[in-house]
């Protein structure tokens, strides 16, 4: 159990002298508090697994430091780091029983037998593995095996953090839900710091209190699911999180007005001090744009199709060259494909060179 500090941590598989853009993980400084549930979210190749492996010690960083409770552990090997990690594919020790598998990390550390038995029983109970304890692990199904891997990660009570590297990849969808809520419950029951790597936003948003979104080796935003949804700090966060993602449209912004395609949208804040020469875009989530019958004062759009997601309908529209997604209100209908767009000014954000600009 520990607070984890990353200090100017960076890694390149090509060595420290590689050009800065080629780093798999660009320098990052952040603090993860004791007992928190964190998710590293990003597409494949964004550096999230690299970051995880740096923390567990499988990879040694090219630059920077990792502190556990203020102690620099960067030079320590994986064994000495007091970390547990669960991998993407189940790792089980074939010749051992389920119970022996769970006891293995404790046995290797010379924990007294009575203590091992108690802890194994507790973890097996939490993961519903008790009936299988004396069975050979080899013959079990993939999800039972992954539960054993999870159990081995959770069995040590003294770990600084438990790391999960996309642990539910091999699990069937309906079991995924169960295991994910199980993990959430385990997090509450065991008071361990958990760091969960995934490319699935649902997984990240349901599991974590704090989601760290990564893109191209950088941490682009770290915040609660609500923050990521309401106020994406980077256009990438905007369209990666949410389904469909945020609409990002090039616009001219002056003061409290944004102009798209010759049409003016009112903004809630004043954006006078925008950096000159920057690429200016506005971002608005489809949830905060409604389609309406075409009319004066509305941004004219052309409806291409309407996706019915059950409780909510989204129209895919086109404004000039730009594609847009917008909410379709109940009982909406237009004779042809022409429509207008109604924006909610409170949720229209302005981005300069992909970064959020706070108006005033």
């Amino acid at each position: 159990m520990a607070r984890i500090d990353l200090v100017d941590l960076a890694h390149s598989y090509g060595g420290n002298d590689a050009p800065p853009e080629s780093f798999a993980l660009k320098p990052v400084t952040m603090t993860w508090r004791q007992g928190g549930a964190y998710a590293l979210l990003g597409p494949s190749g964004c550096g999230k697994t690299t970051l995880l492996n740096l923390i567990s010690g499988i990879v040694t960083p090219s630059r920077g430091k990792i502190l556990f409770d203020g102690t620099d552990i960067t030079p320590l090997s994986t064994q000495k780091r007091n970390i547990a990690q669960v991998f993407q594919f189940p790792v089980i020790y074939d010749t051992m029983t389920v119970g022996q598998n769970l006891a293995f990390p404790l046995k290797n550390r010379g924990v007294p037998k009575a203590e091992i038995d108690a802890r194994v029983a507790e973890i097996a109970d939490l993961l519903d593995l008790t009936p299988y304890l004396s069975r050979k692990a080899q013959r079990l199904t993939a999800d039972a095996k992954q539960k054993i891997s999870l159990g081995r990660g959770l069995v040590r009570s003294d770990v600084a953090a438990v790391l999960f590297d996309e642990p539910l990849t091999v699990i069937d969808p309906e079991l995924k839900w169960q295991l994910r809520s199980k993990l959430k419950a385990l997090h509450r029951a065991l008071d361990l710091t958990m760091i969960y790597v995934t490319h699935d936003q649902t997984e990240a948003l349901t599991f974590a209190d704090t989601v760290v979104v990564m893109h191209d080796g950088r941490v682009v935003q770290s915040g609660t699911p609500a923050e990521l949804f309401d106020k994406p700090a980077h256009t990438f966060v905007g369209y990666f999180i949410g389904s469909p993602g945020m609409n990002i449209v090039p616009a001219e912004v002056r003061g409290r007005e944004a102009r798209i395609d010759g049409h003016t949208i009112m903004l809630n804040r004043n954006y006078d001090g925008l950096p000159p020469g920057a690429k200016i875009e506005i971002g608005v989530r489809p949830e905060f744009v409604n389609v309406a019958p075409p009319g004066s004062g509305l941004l004219a759009a052309n409806i291409e199709r309407i996706d019915d997601l059950g409780r909510i309908r989204f129209a895919r529209v086109r404004v000039g060259d730009v594609k847009f997604a917008a909410r379709v209100p109940a009982r909406f209908s237009v004779p042809d494909n022409a429509a207008g767009l109604v924006f909610d000014p409170a949720h229209v954000h302005v981005y300069a060179d992909s970064l959020l600009v706070e108006g005033n």
Binding site: I58, T141, V170
Partner: protein, 300 residues
């Protein structure tokens, strides 16, 4: 099953029937025929029934004594070379590099002995071990070890065993290496995180993951060593005395040396049955291992 009957297919199978008949069935029947008879030359044969088989299994007769002695010798030989080659092969495989140019170099060096024909291996060691001109024999005798594989039983056995180890450990090592390479990195990383010692990694991950290739290695080496002929024949000729006369050498002596076709036929049939039984065990164990693996895939 609603397949149409097509009798023409028989014509396609016929050539195979003919080839197999002439290359396998007819010679085998001839052997079975011989095993029931005795001959004193002149192509005259006398009916002997199961007499040779009775003699073969009775150690008090000449034939039975020789057969059983060579059988035990052969089993002992197989046991010794397995006890050396399997652990040695594992050690070699474990100490091989996992990446880089040295992998290719190691593989080539390991594969070299496997490419050498049996009687060349025999000849190499026959000369290598000679006390007068062989490097090994000469050096050993000069440092005070009285080594002579022609006159000393122990030396003859040691030479034949070391020769087999030299020739075939590579096979075990290569199979084990292939088994080791197939272990995903995650296993080693998980073991590190679980705080496993080097020995625990070996017993909990590497050995269990190698068990299938090890099974293949053990069975292949057992069968091969059980049929061994050329190498000891070239080096020791089965001697000194009969001390390194294995079953195949004994068989050739009886069949071609003494021209006792009946005895030799009976012996080769029993020899054949032993090998078929071992093959059956091999096949059963392998298919079971395969089924188990499919099961694992099925649920994954």
């Amino acid at each position: 099953m609603d397949k149409t009957v097509n009798q023409k297919a028989w014509f396609l199978v016929l050539p195979v029937f003919l080839v197999v008949a002439f290359s396998a069935v007819l010679p085998l029947m001839t052997v079975v025929n011989y095993s029931m008879q005795d001959t004193f030359g002149n192509n005259q044969f006398f009916w002997n029934g199961v007499g040779w088989f009775k003699e073969l299994l009775d150690p008090s007769t000449d034939l039975g004594g020789r057969f059983l002695a060579s059988l035990w010798r052969n089993l002992f030989f197989s046991a010794v070379i397995l006890a050396i080659e399997v652990p040695l092969g594992i050690v070699v495989a474990l100490s091989m590099p996992r990446q880089g140019w040295s992998v290719a170099a190691c593989l080539v060096i390991l594969a070299l002995p496997l490419l050498i024909p049996w009687n060349v291996v025999g000849t190499i060691w026959q000369i290598f071990g000679r006390p007068d001109i062989g490097l090994l024999g000469y050096v050993l005798n000069n440092i005070g070890i009285n080594y002579n594989y022609v006159s000393n039983e122990f030396d003859a056995w040691a030479t034949v065993i070391v020769m087999d180890v030299w020739h075939w450990t590579s096979l075990v090592a290569l199979l084990c290496y292939a088994g080791l390479k197939s272990i995903p990195d995650a296993y080693y990383q998980a073991a590190q995180i679980d705080g496993a010692s080097r020995w625990a990694v070996f017993t909990a991950i590497q050995l269990p993951k190698m068990n299938r290739v090890l099974l293949i290695a053990v069975l292949l080496r057992f069968m091969d060593s059980f049929m061994i002929y050329t190498e000891p024949f070239v080096v020791t000729g089965g001697g000194p005395g009969n001390s390194t006369t294995f079953i195949s050498i004994e068989l050739v002596k009886i069949a071609l040396g003494q021209f006792d076709l009946g005895k030799a036929a009976a012996l080769s049939l029993v020899y054949n049955i032993i090998i078929i039984i071992v093959c059956w065990v091999f096949y059963t164990v392998m298919t079971n291992a395969g089924v188990e693996r499919r099961d694992n895939k099925g649920v994954a």
